[in-house]
Subunit: 482 residues, 2 copies
Amino acid sequence: MHLSTTARVLGILLMLFSSAMLVPLITALLSDDHTITGFLSALCITFFSGLILWAPARHTRHELQIRDGFLITSLFWTVLGLFGSLPFMMTEGLNLSPAEAVFESISGLTTTGATVMVGLDDLPHSILIYRQLLQWLGGIGIVVVAVAVLPMLGIGGMQLYRAEIPGPSKDSKLTPRIKETAKALFSVYVALTAVCAVSYYIAGMSAFDAIGHAFSTIAIGGFSTHDASMGYFDNNAILILGSLFMFVSAINFGLHFVAWQRRTLSPYKSDSESKFFGSIMLLGITITCSFLILSGTIEPGDALVHGLFQAVSITTTTGFASENFSLWPTFLPVMLILFSFMGGCGGSTAGGIKAMRVMLIYKQGIRELKQLVHPHAVIPLKVGKHRVEATVVSAVWSFFAVYMFAFITIMLLLMATGLDFLTAFSAVAASINNLGPGLGDVAANYTSISETAKALLCFAMLLGRLEVFTLLVLFTPMFWRL
Amino acid sequence: MHLSTTARVLGILLMLFSSAMLVPLITALLSDDHTITGFLSALCITFFSGLILWAPARHTRHELQIRDGFLITSLFWTVLGLFGSLPFMMTEGLNLSPAEAVFESISGLTTTGATVMVGLDDLPHSILIYRQLLQWLGGIGIVVVAVAVLPMLGIGGMQLYRAEIPGPSKDSKLTPRIKETAKALFSVYVALTAVCAVSYYIAGMSAFDAIGHAFSTIAIGGFSTHDASMGYFDNNAILILGSLFMFVSAINFGLHFVAWQRRTLSPYKSDSESKFFGSIMLLGITITCSFLILSGTIEPGDALVHGLFQAVSITTTTGFASENFSLWPTFLPVMLILFSFMGGCGGSTAGGIKAMRVMLIYKQGIRELKQLVHPHAVIPLKVGKHRVEATVVSAVWSFFAVYMFAFITIMLLLMATGLDFLTAFSAVAASINNLGPGLGDVAANYTSISETAKALLCFAMLLGRLEVFTLLVLFTPMFWRL
Ligand SMILES: [K+]
Ligand SMILES: [K+]
């Protein structure tokens, strides 16, 4: 491992990140509000910390190795998460404890969207756009890491995505590939955000809200500039557009890039994961809308729009709310939260276990049933036309088991701090799946739970975002040996 | 498939089962109560139904094949479950609907121990001993099926247990092996029950209660002759003895047989599964007792005894209660119910996923972490000194995933009927793990839930008892092809 290289990369990331704080700072200067000092101090601290990390190591030119990949990826969200909390701590009047500031920042950057802030509608625009921006930056970080870095690290079967990555694909060194890929993905990401913002604006949002919500839609983040979330606008066009863009953002960005480059929709049609994800999504929407209509919870017309929006928002792990869905019959929110364990496709901004892994697990179950009836047959496991290697399958299974184990452990710890079952279950699911809103005591926001509970949930958000293994591997002694 | 052979075997089983009804019938005759007609009619119906099934097929001598194994095993619990409900339906004054009678019978035979009867203390002895006997018969059925039949069927990695089975082990035909094995296991089962009954009697139970509770202890059933379950006796010696016998019954009966035959404890010492199970059990007991003491829920002295008893009772999926543990801080009951997903060892009377499978999943998770740090190393998966074959591992994974999927689906269906989250979660866990008591509305008994909910839970009990795949495979078209 080359710690100097890690320091250099982290230094650059921090300096880049500090430049992102210019956006809220300029917003603050334009409206001349009381948040100027906070953002200016945060920007300076972040920039100079980055400089101090970068300067001594600026001439090192070691190639990044696999282990560096684990370390840098984990540090990306933890270190940026800590520095990202500075504006929340340093702005007067927000009244956030340090733990709450870190919670809000990590929740933003991991695109979870769980919040400890209330009274959003009355906050200065600088704070609001900063929260949205945190999600947007976290989102592009995820896409790059998921498409370019994780497949190299071989986490939980992410090797499956290798074929679809642009860039020099047979190179085992990380640096050139990451640069190539990052550029390509960034352009797709910016383009999608722009189209989404314009659509929201045309549908009736203000320019500020349109940009802010485009940030958190494409990032599958779920932060809003209003306490009532998307319900604030009371506008069906916005809800339908939102559903569309959330769905698109939950598809592999590698596919978007290829489709855009070749000007054709065929990459989606031939992609098994997208088709599987689409089918599950359709199932979720159908059950939600039918149950809302049959149980008479809301009017049939509203049921279709809100059913569609909530099903897409929760399943893709976005977490926007169009109305207070925690008041629906508990069956629906619990079912949708269980759907969020799948989340979206790999290489997207969505959280959860990912459609590809769920599909492999499903196919393996069917295969096993066949094997029982025909014990001597050799039945291969295929995705599309490709046979899936045994090592990939076993990596996927381990991922699934470790994910579940982490989920259950953190849930029990939360219950030991005194939370009730529904609150603990939904809070951990909402955090590890990077979904955001929970049920019970955390249906609206996370202010009421203890500092310990908040710290545990921060850890869960990081675990989820880092595909569990990237973070866990750092806790093994063997990682640090040699 | 040879349906005539299946009919013959099922006929014999029904006739044998009817003879078991002699026990409550004689009890009824001795106390000359109103249950005589009920038991007599049930006995006759069951016997003649068996005779009608057996007679036309009595000369068929086909060897049982793999598929027959699936069918007969599934029919064992479903058909006996239906006939077993007859005494409950035909006894006046019990006031059970047909669905409730079937629920009680299936719950007994699958050794789940969930009950829809209240006021047990006032019921005739014949009914009480019949319920205990149902569990005891179900228990020996499970041991024989788990040790002799399932390993042949290759369900969820049950092949792992092949080595430990007595009898002609290289014979691929089912009949001779099942007969040999069944005899050996039956003697161990009877011996253990006798020792348990005598111990309970010496510790202070009446002879009737001692025998009744020995039946449901060794079967890991959990039915009691008192509404207050084991708490009725208010006797620490009984609780400690109960814990011991539940623990022993959750160990592979194949091991008990070998240990008994060779008059040595060494088989246990060299068995990885037993050691793993013991460690997890110890962990569960430690957390339970510590939490009870630290939280000041009950007095430290009581905390040790009740903590031990409840941890063993729930983890092994027995389901006896020493006090109303649903009133403990929710963390504890939920944690113990999660432990019950492991249950006991394979080849025991316990329910759940089984310690061997959980151990394999755990080892595979550790292996995967090592693999991430050393991507090019070849790291085998071992249990004891034996390398585990890839087909076994993949069967175990599929088992785990299908089990979880079945659990979640049935839980959502229950919630759709209107049950709250904690009730639905605990009821399905208590059913599919063959545990018995739940939390929330089903903490004491299952009378208050709807008939639909009861039917769903019956299905869950059968799924769990039949290791999911044995039952599911019957629902695939390919099983019936040819
Ligand atoms: K989110
Ligand atoms: K039980």
